[in-house]
């Protein structure tokens, strides 16, 4: 398992690996929002948590089709399926590698970009907490979507359509927790819901991903 994680990470950081793609997209979206909304700092402050969460979600989605497509094309998935490592473990590791290269940089960059959106001072902590709790769910659900569409040429559109509805609960509770935090309200209820969703999908989704991947490899 460690070998697969190390390989996926080193591939992501080498040329053409796609590390930074999601981060750059996140950066562009959040930098452009103040320009399109206009110089109304009160309005910006109230939409900042939602915009940051939406940007993070779309940035995650952007890099999903690379998660399995490359391994499928060069035959790695076939060979992994015949290896002693169970596919469930392989899918968990691949989702983890995706989170480390995409989700984690978003979590770390979000407070910096919060400044651009005039996020209220008390909101930073809860923004980071909600993103740290929520982005693993985005990677795991995304791995399921990637497994479902892996054999399909230009499967990106189909995958987005499948994955986006599954992302909605995470987005609702994540953005709600960040918003409550920013408005000095108690964010614990949405945070607990968010943590519950993440724990649930991390536990169950790898089994679904491995099952659909087996069907797709036939």
């Amino acid at each position: 398992m460690r070998a697969l994680l190390i390989r996926d990470l080193s591939l992501a950081f080498r040329a053409g690996g796609g590390f930074g793609l999601g981060l750059a997209f996140f950066l562009i979206v959040t930098v452009l929002v103040p320009f399109s909304v206009g110089p109304q700092s009160a309005l910006l402050a109230s939409i900042a948590p939602g915009v940051l969460w939406l940007g993070a979600l779309l940035a995650c989605l952007l890099s999903l089709d690379r998660l399995l497509a490359l391994d499928f094309e060069d035959g790695t998935l076939d060979l992994l399926a015949t290896a002693p490592l169970p596919l469930e473990a392989a899918m968990t590791v691949k989702a983890l590698a995706h989170w480390i290269t995409t989700g984690l940089p978003l979590v770390l960059a979000a407070p910096v970009l919060g400044v651009l959106l005039n996020l209220p001072e008390q909101g930073y902590f809860w923004l980071v907490v909600s993103l740290a709790l929520g982005t693993p769910a985005l990677s795991v659900i995304g791995a399921f979507g990637a497994a479902l569409t892996v054999g399909i040429k230009r499967g990106g559109l189909l995958m987005s359509l499948i994955v986006l509805p599954l992302y909605v609960p995470t987005l609702i509770f994540g953005a709600e927790a960040a918003r409550r935090g920013a408005q000095d309200m108690d964010p614990s209820t949405p945070l607990l819901m968010l943590a519950g969703i993440t724990a649930g999908v991390v536990a169950l989704m790898p089994f679904a991903s491995a099952a659909v991947l087996r069907v797709n490899l036939r």
């Binding site: 697969l4 391994d71 094309e73 060979l79 290896a83 490899l217």
Partner: protein
């Protein structure tokens, strides 16, 4: 230790291609699979490797003992030869890759990126992967594609050595490897044309 295949029926895209395939593959022996293009050699090997379920029949002694190699080698262009091989060794719980590098004369290329190798060199690296898996049964689909005469000889040596250590090999190939191995001609097991099996949407999967 023996790989036993009994009365195996297999399908590709919902259409049965072979029925009633039976053979035994004992330790230390090889079996060459022959047949015209599209006769179901690849599907047979994928089924035995466990990548797709058979329509009917039994495969015995294959669980966790097969090293499978097909048309694509599973190499990453941005990893070096050593890194690629080391990755597969670790996945199979091994750490030694030296013998595999030596068997296919990959030492001079060890620090090159796999993306810069020629087709034949990539193939050699793909075959070297078999050695690092330490699995007893090799299931190989057209292993000699894009290899030159010298590399084919290395490959034949590697197979001989593997058989000598009590391994077994199931090889689909069109060229003569100089192995003293029986031939399984799959065209004898061709399924009746027009028959369909499985759910109606199988062809779309």
């Amino acid at each position: 230790m023996t790989l036993t295949v009994r009365d195996l029926s297999i399908a590709r895209g919902g259409v049965p291609v072979l029925t009633g395939v039976s053979f035994d593959l004992a330790a230390g022996t090889a079996l060459i699979v022959r047949g015209p293009n599209g006769s179901g050699k690849t599907t047979l090997l994928r089924t035995i490797a466990g990548l797709q379920p058979p329509l009917s029949g039994q495969i015995g002694g294959a669980e966790d003992r097969i090293a499978y190699a097909a048309h694509s080698d599973g190499l990453k262009a941005m990893l070096t030869v050593t890194e690629n091989l080391m990755f597969w060794a670790r996945v199979f719980g091994q750490t030694q890759i030296d013998a595999a590098l030596r068997a296919f004369a990959l030492h001079p290329l060890a620090n090159r990126f796999a993306g810069t190798l020629s087709a034949g060199q990539k193939r050699r690296l793909g075959l070297a992967r078999l050695l690092v898996t330490q699995r007893p049964i090799w299931v190989l689909d057209e292993p000699t594609v894009s290899l030159d005469a010298q590399a084919v000889a290395w490959f034949a040596e590697a197979v001989q050595a593997h058989l000598g250590q009590g391994g077994a090999a199931l090889i689909a190939t069109h060229i003569d490897l100089g192995l003293d191995a029986p031939v399984l001609d799959v065209s004898a097991f061709r399924a009746a044309p027009g028959a369909r099996a499985g759910a109606s949407d199988e062809a779309f999967l």
